[in-house]
């Protein structure tokens, strides 16, 4: 009747019922629980890695190559220098191949291909590629580039296998991110007369950069830890090498060889190497995010 009563009625309709409050609290609780569940394995694994791997760390661990000298006691087995450098070289080359190509294809899919049948075909096959096991990529490069050409193992062949592994992940994640750039941003730039390529490089890419960095980092992390593609392509050598055209050691292969060794000191080295790999990727993550953040504010 009175204005006061009418608005009170209307407000009462919007009041928070106890049922909704309960649902809200339950849902928030479940979400928190889910997040905690996601973190528990991480804590356990990191603890396990530290427990098994930290003991192997020492200054010589990082500065000496593995020696293969496993018969004469723990001190002469060497460290993992060649494996660390090898991983950096092989993964850097793999990224240099897959990241520009992957982002290029993603840009094409979003900006030019859109929903054409051709674009849909590309999208579909890229998706399918995500399910191929890493070992099959290694075997493919093995048949085509090693056995096929009758030439020997080489670091760059391992990089190619890894690039194949990374490509679908980079393309797909970049595409998801690029699709989220608001159409309005593009349209206003185009309306102001900017040419297409400028819109892409100056508006779309910088906006999408942090998200794409995430996708790229995940692909790099995966590639850095994969053994199978390298076993049949890059082949390991114990010595440090800067020649990607020849044999090259890498952390995952070194870990794989060492972890199955009968000598305890060598197994410990494997765990130390695994810990090193995780720390390296963590550092890469931090550095890349710092760069991405700075470029966003600039």
């Amino acid at each position: 009747m009175s204005a006061h009563g009418a608005s009170a009625d209307r407000l009462a309709r919007f009041a928070l019922s106890p049922a909704r409050k309960r649902k809200d609290r339950l849902a928030q609780g479940l979400i928190l629980a889910g997040t905690a569940i996601a973190l528990v394995p991480l804590v356990l694994i990191i603890y396990y890695l530290l427990h098994k791997g930290l003991g192997a760390w020492s200054s010589s661990f990082f500065t000496t190559d593995p020696t293969g000298n496993t018969f004469f006691g723990g001190s002469s087995i060497g460290g993992i220098k060649s494996a660390i450098l090898g991983t950096i070289e092989i993964v850097a080359l793999a990224s240099a191949i897959s990241v520009p190509i992957g982002i290029g294809v993603a840009i094409w899919l979003v900006e030019y291909g859109r929903s054409s049948w051709f674009a849909n075909t590309v999208r579909f096959f890229v998706d399918v590629l995500t399910g191929v096991p890493s070992i099959v990529f290694g075997l493919f490069v093995y048949i085509v580039l090693v056995v096929g050409t009758g030439s020997t193992y080489a670091g760059y062949k391992g990089s190619i296998a890894l690039a194949l592994l990374m490509l679908p992940v980079v393309i797909r994640s970049a595409e998801v991110i690029l699709l989220l750039v608001p159409a309005a941003l593009r349209e206003s730039a185009l309306a102001l007369g900017a040419p297409r390529w400028r819109v892409i490089f100056n508006i779309v890419l910088p906006t999408a950069l942090p998200g794409m960095v995430t996708g790229v980092l995940l692909a790099v992390a995966r590639a850095a830890g994969e053994t199978a593609p390298l076993l049949f392509t890059a082949a390991a050598t114990l010595k440090t090498s800067f020649d990607l055209g020849g044999f090259m050691n890498s952390l995952p292969v070194q870990i794989y060889k060492d972890v199955t060794s009968p000598t305890t000191a060598v197994v410990n080295r494997a765990w130390g190497a695994a810990l090193t790999l995780v720390v390296m990727i963590l550092l890469l993550n931090l550095i890349a995010r710092l760069i991405a953040r700075r470029s966003r504010l600039a």
Binding site: R20, G34, T130, G131, I135, L139, L180, A221
Partner: protein, 330 residues
């Protein structure tokens, strides 16, 4: 006035044709990859016949008889488990990080979840088999005994390597990628969508359910597909955790085999028909991912048609009405 000279249009043209050529190249590469695989796999298919290979229930290297059904089933079970367990947890973590988490904790939390991606697969396998699997064996046995009336889950002996532990570890492995992509997508939900819901009186959870999740649906599915791809193709961890027994096990907590694992285990020593059978297994994986992706696309397309708005994944008018209705307590 805004017309540009043909010369000025050159970079645009170059970019367009360049990128199109690149996409075509990638497609050609994938097709070549497929063709090479088929070539290597042909002897095995010639011996067993395609349905014989895919649905044959006997992988016997000694007798040179290759039926991949136990492997296929193992791959499907473990990947399904990985999705069932991993995607909800990943999305929950993403929701927490973007909506509910205190601002200061956001970056560290994100970094922690993504740290899971840094762990090499061989470490997952070893941690699983030496640490987690023995610890869970008691609980798995208890579950199997209590639920013995449910086929497949209950009854039967619990072995340390089994489908369940494999699916569990795979779920952990796909967590970072599903979570990261979901998070990125959720972070781009326009603030006004969320504020509109809150302004209408929605609780936090209702706002998430009505304004955030529908907007992110196809992005989350994209992330889940990448996670599924990883689960289907994961080799070394599965090899260590699944027990590698080439028989179709009837229990969740028993050992089995997977397509990727058999390739890793046997390729080093395989020759002749055996080798080509392993390539055929890789091909089956290829086709499996193809089918799964096809089905997923259909589902997403159908869901998108269901919501009335035009923008990809954006909430439609019907969703907004839903918010108002809920807010009104109806």
């Amino acid at each position: 006035m805004l017309a540009r000279s043909p010369l000025a249009r050159l970079p645009d043209r170059a970019l367009k044709y360049g990128l199109t050529a690149l996409a075509a190249l990638i497609l050609a590469l994938i097709v070549y990859f497929f063709i090479r695989l088929v070539g290597e796999a042909r002897p095995a298919f010639a011996k067993e016949g395609v349905p014989g290979f895919v649905f044959g229930n006997d992988w016997n290297v000694g007798a040179e008889h290759f039926g991949a059904l136990p492997l296929l089933v193992g791959t499907m079970i473990t990947s399904a488990l990985a999705l069932l367990i991993g995607v909800p947890v990943a999305v929950a973590a993403a929701v927490y990080a973007t909506e509910l988490c205190p601002l200061r904790l956001r970056a560290p939390l994100t970094m922690l979840v993504e740290l899971l991606a840094a762990v090499p697969s061989v470490v997952y396998g070893l941690w699983g088999i030496f640490f987690l699997a023995p610890k869970l064996q008691g609980a798995e046995q208890w579950l199997a005994d209590r639920l013995s009336f449910i086929p497949f889950i209950g009854g039967g002996l619990v072995t340390i390597p089994n489908y369940f532990i494999t699916g569990l570890i795979l779920a952990i492995m796909i967590l970072p990628i599903v979570s990261a992509i979901s998070r990125e997508v959720m972070a781009t939900v326009p603030a006004d969508h969320k504020e509109a819901a809150l302004g209408l009186g929605a609780t936090r959870w209702e706002m998430i359910r009505l304004a955030v999740l529908p907007y992110c649906r196809s992005g989350i599915v994209g992330g889940a597909m990448l996670g599924l791809g990883r689960a289907i193709g994961e080799t070394i961890a599965v090899t260590i955790l699944i027990g590698d027994s080439p028989t179709l096990s009837h229990h969740l907590f028993n050992q089995g085999y997977s397509l990727a694992a058999v390739i890793a285990n046997e390729f080093g020593e395989a020759q002749g028909v055996h080798r080509s059978a392993l390539f055929a297994a890789g091909l089956v994986l290829f086709v499996l991912t193809l089918l799964v992706n096809g089905v997923a696309r259909l589902l997403v397309a159908r869901a998108a048609r269901g919501s009335s708005s035009g923008a990809p994944g954006a909430p439609g008018a019907s969703d907004m009405t839903a918010v108002a209705d809920t807010a009104a307590g109806t």
